[in-house]
């Protein structure tokens, strides 16, 4: 990836006696020296390319502050509310916040402004900003991240009470009046309670710290004063009697750290000029009574976040959120990766809460579990015995710049939180139906011939696939929107050939533009002046990426966004057709010769905004402009499909993401599950990991196991590095080809179910693949479980991520049955059980009480299944009940937005299977297209009833008896009864009797 690695060391040339000049000797000898130099730097490891907290000035300062607080026996936050400033009007609470440590200064700093908004979705927004900053702090994240100007909650009803003695303000609010906010004034702290139970506390540890903007000259003057007047280096300490007394102490090492790297920072050969000086802030957020917290992707770590502080903490570094292109990233490491979502969810048996720290600058988060956890976890099992302390998770959030802007979601259930959060940042946009089928990618399919052969290989081996991808080599010298013509002489024909079999193509388009005045995109970009600027704010920044010297488009410039979107029109993007879609890579952005392989923080965006303020959002802005381009290019608008590597909260509105450049190892297969679950919880369910692993060569077993797991990733794509061996699914021969074919076909069979899940998340933000604790929120055994998970509420999946395994231990949650999807053998919850996981399957079970729609006919693409009939698998629970849904639309256009879709609710109860229209009332009036009418008339060809205690004897619809065949499930435990041709269609109301 690093371009320098491409140098082939030349062998030293020996000067020959007769024909070399001394100058030539010097040159050839220089080559020898070069070899020496290369050898000494080649071993540089990537970990050193990225900062630790100690190497990041503001992180080090805020962490040192936390250390000071922890070491002081009676630490109290110096922040207090000014009582006279407190106001509550129209659902907005405001007050001045002062730092008492600083108020003794001759010129007290202006107070901070605290705002607290009660929102109509029961969430609360907390903002802290400087009241009279010398320069405005960056506050623009909300404009691009929030979907709408969120309500100021004027119609929210609340009750206010103030206890003047303690200085505590209490607000009672919420749709059920269930939430309480207590605001303490001295010291400042906020406590959120749900139904009287303390859940989230802000500044409870007193780690709030806010670096107000200052002028460098004053700063220097003051530090000169400081050296004259030793009094200023005293700290105010409170003794045990509570009386304030001044003790003169030397500044400790920690206190010195608070003043380091304020005005300039160096990392390796890079200098960050920090023209505005220090402007970071931090605050602690405590999840009271909650032992497990989740979220804040993207890290290659476990689902339940491990501690980064405190005794026995598994990690010593905080979780870092800073979008970076990390070459060969390591599993089980809290290092920053390609995307950032500062959303954290805490969950316990009794409460669920979440926070969204809306900041797009570099952010670090420490997690600390209360020391008492270990014992209290056990003790809490003993009913009625109250432990001295409840398990608690303390987190410390640190951002480099901007304003403190925090949303607190109090549920009370996880579903409520997903709904509350997604109502602010948006839900997943409904993808085209092909996009959730299987994608075949490689760096690179080299020629048009190569594409044709790969495409034919799938048909020859009868493996379905929908999309063939082209990586960077398809372009003319990494000039995106162009083709390497000798290798791809006729891209239009190529796409049409794929399209004739219902297939699509995706080409890569990155945000770096090759500096080349003969390249029309580069030229126009220059003329329109749409590139990110150097710190001088005038000249365009240039750096290295795939094409060599490149410039980066400033997607914060509205003109740039529109111009970029227009590049995707068919007349601009020569050789593109409507079956061509887009892949946005390297959008962290990746800059090969930049600090931490990204763009310097002091570069300038439109509106004189420093890059440091918006870094984590850059990739999303690019993603959004690309999606806009794909949407606009057709007159009848088609849904776009754009895959991005970088992401932030809100990315779900533009397309899919994947977990970047993983490796072909069992460990990376294993970590894909927690990573995808975490990303999904944070509001971006349309995500996947490269099947097979990007770097390296998977053996046949690893590749097969990865396909079996990848079938259950919302985004299902195989991809491989240019240096890896070919690994199209048939290349390893039998039995692997058959095993992979079976796996991929399973994905296709369940596409109606997947599409329904995509519809559901597009409505309420509920993740598609879900951690066990989302479906079983009261079962503490699953709270940290991330090696098995749920697809929707219905399928339990346990990927095999170890070699040579033929048995797997699966946890069957709840007290209902689970049915193996291959042979309907039955397992009974709750508890762990070892089940078979031979080479040709991983454990996947349908949960009792669910009805799943399937299309069981093997086809070569999802498009080819469009007219196929359906199968319903009805997994009856112990009461003979089950429910399920199906969503169908044209899979391409936006007409579903006007109600042009089918949404059916199936229910089995009391011996009746019924289907009813479940479209929301607001959608019913709309006109239904011919397409949807045709789909509605497709028949259900098969019903499979599982979980019935007795064999079904009689099944009838409309008085007509239907043939039914029952067999015993393979391991006993019930009957599997199949009804052939129940004579009903997918789109109609029906009632079918079974007994």
């Amino acid at each position: 990836m690093d371009s320098a690695r491409g140098l082939t060391p030349s062998s030293p040339a020996r000067p020959s006696r007769s024909n070399r000049s001394s100058r030539t000797i010097l040159r050839s000898v220089l080559a020898l020296g070069l070899v020496l130099a290369c050898a000494s730097t080649a071993s540089a490891v990537k970990r050193e390319d990225f900062k630790t907290c100690a190497q990041s000035g503001f992180c080090a300062r805020n962490r040192a502050y936390a250390d000071i607080a922890k070491e002081a026996p009676d630490w109290v936050s110096p922040f207090q509310l000014t009582p006279a400033s407190v106001r509550l009007r129209n659902g907005i609470f405001t007050a001045d916040l002062i730092n008492t440590h600083e108020s003794t200064n001759p010129s007290p700093r202006p107070p901070l402004a605290l705002e607290l908004h009660l929102l109509d979705n029961d969430a609360v927004r907390v903002r802290i900003n400087e009241r009279d900053a010398i320069l405005p702090r960056y506050d623009g994240v909300q404009e691009t991240v929030l979907v709408k100007p969120y309500g100021f909650a004027s119609d929210v009803t609340y009750e206010l009470s103030t206890d003047t003695a303690s200085g505590t303000t209490t607000i009672q609010y919420g749709s059920q009046n269930q939430n309480t906010v207590k605001i303490g004034s001295a010291p400042f702290k906020i406590e959120f309670l749900v139904n009287g139970v303390s859940t989230v506390l802000l500044n409870d540890e007193g780690l709030l710290r806010f670096e107000t903007l200052r002028r460098k000259e004053e700063e220097q003057k003051q530090s000169d004063d400081d050296s004259d007047d030793s009094d200023d280096s005293k700290l105010v300490d409170q003794d045990s009697e509570g009386e304030s007394s001044e003790i003169v102490i030397e500044k400790s090492e920690l206190e010195k750290k608070l003043e380091e790297n304020l005005w300039e920072e160096r990392f390796k050969e890079f200098t960050d000029s920090k023209p505005r000086g220090p402007e970071s802030f931090g605050m602690d957020i405590t999840f009271s009574g909650i032992n497990h917290v989740y979220g804040i992707p993207e890290h290659a770590t476990s689902l339940s976040l491990k501690a980064t502080r405190g005794p026995d903490a598994p990690y010593s570094e905080p979780y870092r959120l800073y979008n970076l292109d990390v070459f060969e990233y390591e599993a089980n490491n809290p290092m920053a990766l390609y995307g950032s979502v500062p959303f954290m969810l805490g969950h316990s048996k009794n409460s669920t809460a979440a926070v969204f720290w809306m900041n797009a600058a570099e952010t670090w988060i420490d997690v600390e579990k209360s020391a008492e956890d270990k014992s209290s976890g056990l003790l809490s099992w003993i009913k009625g015995k109250k432990t001295l302390s409840t398990p608690t998770t303390k987190t410390h959030w640190i951002s480099e710049s901007g304003v403190l802007d925090l949303f607190v979601f109090l549920g009370p259930t996880q579903r409520d939180i997903f709904r509350q959060y997604s109502s602010l940042v948006g839900t997943t946009v409904l993808p085209q139906s092909f996009a959730i089928a299987y994608h075949q990618c490689r760096w690179n399919y080299n020629t048009q011939q190569d594409v044709a052969e790969t495409d034919a290989g799938f048909d020859e081996h009868d493996i379905p696939y929908d999309v063939l991808w082209l990586d960077i080599e398809h372009t003319n010298g990494k000039r995106y929107f162009t083709w390497d013509e000798p290798k791809f002489p006729n891209p239009t024909d190529m796409q049409q050939s794929l399209a004739s079999r219902g297939r699509k193509m995706v080409t890569i388009v990155d945000p770096h533009i090759k500096m080349d005045s003969s390249f029309y995109v580069s030229k126009e970009g220059g003329e329109l002046d749409v590139y990110i600027k150097n710190k001088d704010g005038k000249s365009s920044f240039d750096g290295w990426c795939w094409p060599g010297n490149s410039q980066w488009i400033d997607f914060y410039n509205p003109k740039a966004r529109d111009w970029w979107a227009s590049q995707f029109s068919y007349d601009r993007y020569q050789g593109s057709t409507k079956s061509l879609f887009t892949w946005n890579d390297m959008n962290e952005p990746s800059v090969f010769n930049g600090p931490e392989i990204t763009i310097p923080k002091d570069t300038i965006h439109y509106g004189d905004v420093e890059h440091r303020n918006v870094h984590n959002l850059y990739g999303t802005m690019f993603h959004s402009a690309t999606a806009q381009g794909l949407t606009q290019r057709n007159e009848t608008q088609q849904r776009p499909f754009v895959l991005s590597r970088a992401f932030y909260a809100g990315t779900q509105r533009y397309g899919a993401i994947w977990t970047g450049d993983n490796m072909a190892t069992w460990e990376h297969l294993e970590y894909a599950s927690p990573m995808l679950l975490t990303i999904g919880l944070a509001g971006i369910p349309f995500s996947g990991a490269d099947v097979g692993g990007f770097f390296g060569n998977p053996d046949a077993e690893l590749l097969t196991r990865w396909y079996q797991a990848g079938v259950y990733y919302p985004f299902f794509r195989a991809h491989a590095h240019v240096d890896s061996k070919r690994r199209e699914p048939w290349l390893f021969g039998e039995p692997y080809t058959t095993q992979i074919r079976e796996a991929v076909r399973t994905r296709y069979a369940y596409l109606p179910f997947w599409y329904t899940l995509f519809y559901e998340t597009s409505v309420d933000g509920t993740p598609i693949i879900r951690p066990m604790f989302t479906e079983f929120p009261e079962d503490e055994a699953v709270f940290a479980m991330d090696d098995q998970y749920m697809v929707g509420n219905a399928l339990l999946v346990k990927p095999v991520s170890k070699p040579g395994v033929t048995r797997s231990t699966v946890y069957f949650a709840g007290s209902e049955k689970w049915f193996d999807i291959k042979d309907y053998s039955v397992e009974q919850g709750p508890g762990f059980k070892e089940v078979a996981s031979p080479a040709d399957k991983i454990p996947v079970y349908q949960r009792a009480g669910t009805i799943l729609p399937k299309r069981e006919r093997p086809r070569r693409s999802s498009k080819a299944m469009e007219n196929d009939p359906f199968t319903l698998v009805i997994a009856l629970d112990s009461e003979g009940k089950a429910t399920g849904r199906i969503y169908l639309d044209d899979g391409e256009t936006f007409s579903y937005e006007h109600g042009d879709f089918i949404l059916r609710e199936f229910e089995a109860t009391g011996g009746v299977l019924s289907s009813r229209d479940a479209r929301p009332a607001s959608k019913e009036v709309a006109k239904v297209s011919d397409f949807v009418q045709r789909i509605a008339a497709l028949r259900i060809e098969r019903l499979v009833f599982v979980g019935s205690k007795v064999a079904l004897k009689k099944v009838s619809v409309g008085g007509q008896e239907l043939p039914v065949e029952c067999v015993l499930a393979p391991n006993g435990g019930g009957h599997v009864c199949t009804v052939k041709e129940p004579r009903v269609t997918i789109g109609e109301d029906f009632e079918l009797l079974f007994e």
Partner: protein, 550 residues
């Protein structure tokens, strides 16, 4: 219960499919090949058994668009099972079986030119069998012609191979018979040369000292010049060494300037190699110019020694200078590290001076050693000529011996090469073929080397083995190692054609090339009577001559 009324459209669909099935009742069920007709008949009670015997179903359930049988055999005409085959009659062309998952999938499959696989109305696939059939026949004919010609050629290859092999064996035997005599000839020539040389030596012995002195006088200015160069080089080297040493000791480690660090790291590596290889430093004594009095060493040797030493020092200067120059280019100016700045100044000085040294080295080329001056006597001349003659005779004798040895080796290699079951590939042994694409010319010499050429040549591999049992795929391996990848290799896949040529070269995986070669050597061998008529024709095109040079 309102199911009956809403079910109407469904019944219409069902009725349609039933009607379709009935229309063919009495004939073959849809999608069944005529050869399988007897498998699709109902028993007396109107029932039918799945072909795998797993189940018995009503015959009416065959092709009812519902999969009853595990093996999918009940739905040859629909996609319901998706696991069987659908037979397209393709009247006008040859019938073909397509996967039943392709039935009614909205795609006009080329294999099903009659369009019979798409009958549900979502797409219209016209019957293009006549056209396709005609094309296919033409294609068949074309292939047939190629195969017939190829077959003839291949037979010639085989004949050639067999005869060439025995010829080679004969030649080896013959050559081996010669070797003893050749060895003797060489030894005789060597003896004669020794005698002649002794004569010359004897003659020279008397005048040795004077000659050496004259030579010293002759070469003295050259040696002097070369020594000056060496001194300057040593001075420069010492300066660079000292500069790096000071940099290493004094630079500010807190700045983490990568450019400085890598210069220091490079210097450390250099110091390490010095420890290991103390000979790298030429002894200071050698800087002495030496004089004619020095009888220990000839003027020529002295000159060579000084020149060699200079070159060694120059190479070290190169290493050290590169470290400093690399740093001078990339170091961070803003740090103002004095040690670094000092080193940069020295580096620039050295660079500037070096150009001036270029002047000092005068003609900017290496010094040319002149021929020895001498006044030749007739006696001396005769002796020298005799010696030269003896030398040339020895050279000839050795060359002949070498030639025969090489030839035997070459023949042995060829005889040991697996040239196919019937020696077909003898014809192609060591024949080379080129293929030009946009950037490169690829070449392969069969059973030899494969290369990729542009400005430079990259070695892609040497013949290592046949792949598989069919004598149509070869592997060339052990090519130049790829950066971050494997050793380059070539898979050569052959197909039947009337001439030998590379059809395509691709690189499906990094540094693993695929060459497709067309050659008569893999054409099927057709029985003679099949091509008798053709053989009678006067056409001789594509015939290859026998290669007797084997």
């Amino acid at each position: 219960m309102k199911a009956t009324s809403v079910c109407l459209p469904l019944f219409a669909t069902l009725a349609l499919s039933v009607a379709v099935a009935r229309a063919e009742a009495g004939q073959l069920p849809r999608g069944v090949a005529p050869s399988k007709a007897q498998l699709y008949t109902s028993d007396d009670s109107g029932r039918w058994k799945c072909l795998d015997g797993s189940k018995t179903i009503p015959f009416s359930a065959v092709n009812d668009d519902y999969c009853d049988c595990k093996d999918g055999s009940d739905e040859p005409g629909t996609s319901a099972c998706g696991t069987g085959y659908f037979h397209c009659t393709n009247v006008g062309h040859i019938g073909s079986d397509i996967k039943s998952s392709r039935v009614n999938d909205g795609v006009c499959d080329p294999e099903c030119c009659d369009g019979s696989d798409e009958y549900d109305g979502q797409i219209y696939c016209p019957n293009i069998c006549e056209e396709v059939g005609a094309k296919a026949k033409e294609e068949q004919k074309r292939v047939r012609v190629i195969q017939e010609q190829g077959s003839r050629l291949r037979k010639q290859y085989i004949e050639h191979g067999k005869s060439v092999k025995s010829k080679m064996q004969e030649e080896i035997a013959q050559l081996k018979g010669k070797t003893e005599q050749l060895l003797k000839d060489t030894n005789d020539a060597r003896d004669k040369l020794n005698e002649a040389s002794e004569e010359v030596e004897k003659y020279y012995e008397g005048t040795k000292k004077e000659r050496a002195a004259a030579r010293w006088t002759q070469l003295a200015p050259l040696i002097k010049e070369q020594t000056r160069r060496l001194k300057f080089a040593l001075y420069t080297k010492k300066k660079l060494f000292k500069t790096l040493k000071q940099l290493k000791d004094n630079y500010n480690k807190n700045y983490h300037d990568l450019a400085v660090k890598s210069a220091v790291a490079g210097f450390d590596d250099y110091l390490e190699t010095l420890d290991k290889d103390t000979d790298a430093d030429p002894p200071a004594a050698s800087v002495e110019e030496g004089t004619a009095d020095d009888t220990e060493i000839s003027a020529d040797d002295q000159f060579d020694k000084v020149t060699q030493d200079t070159n060694i020092v120059l190479r070290e200067i190169g290493s050290l200078f590169e470290l400093l120059a690399g740093m001078a280019e990339d170091y961070n100016i803003e740090y103002n590290d004095e040690a670094v700045l000092a080193a940069v100044t020295v580096t620039k000085d050295v660079e500037r001076n070096w150009d001036q040294i270029g002047l000092e080295f005068k003609d900017d080329t290496e010094l040319v050693v002149p021929e020895e001056e001498s006044d030749e006597t007739p006696e001396e001349k005769a002796l020298k000529e005799a010696s030269d003659k003896a030398q040339s005779d020895l050279n000839d004798a050795m060359a002949e011996e070498e030639r025969v040895k090489d030839r035997i080796e070459d023949l042995t290699r060829k005889l040991e090469t697996d040239l196919g079951s019937d020696e077909t590939f003898a014809q192609l042994l060591d024949q080379c073929f080129d293929y030009k694409d946009i950037e490169y010319t690829y070449s392969v010499c069969l059973f030899g080397d494969a290369n990729q050429r542009s400005q430079t040549t990259t070695f892609l591999g040497k013949f290592s083995t046949w792949v598989g049992d069919n004598y149509d795929t070869q592997l060339y391996s052990g090519g130049t190692k790829c950066w971050n990848g494997p050793d380059r290799s070539v898979k050569l896949v052959m197909s039947c054609g009337t001439e030998n040529k590379i059809l395509s070269v691709s690189e499906p995986e990094k540094c693993e090339y695929l060459f497709k070669l067309q050659t008569p050597a893999v054409c099927p061998i057709l029985p003679d009577d099949d091509i008798e008529k053709e053989a009678a024709a006067p056409e001789k095109k594509g015939n290859t001559k026998n290669h007797d040079e084997l």
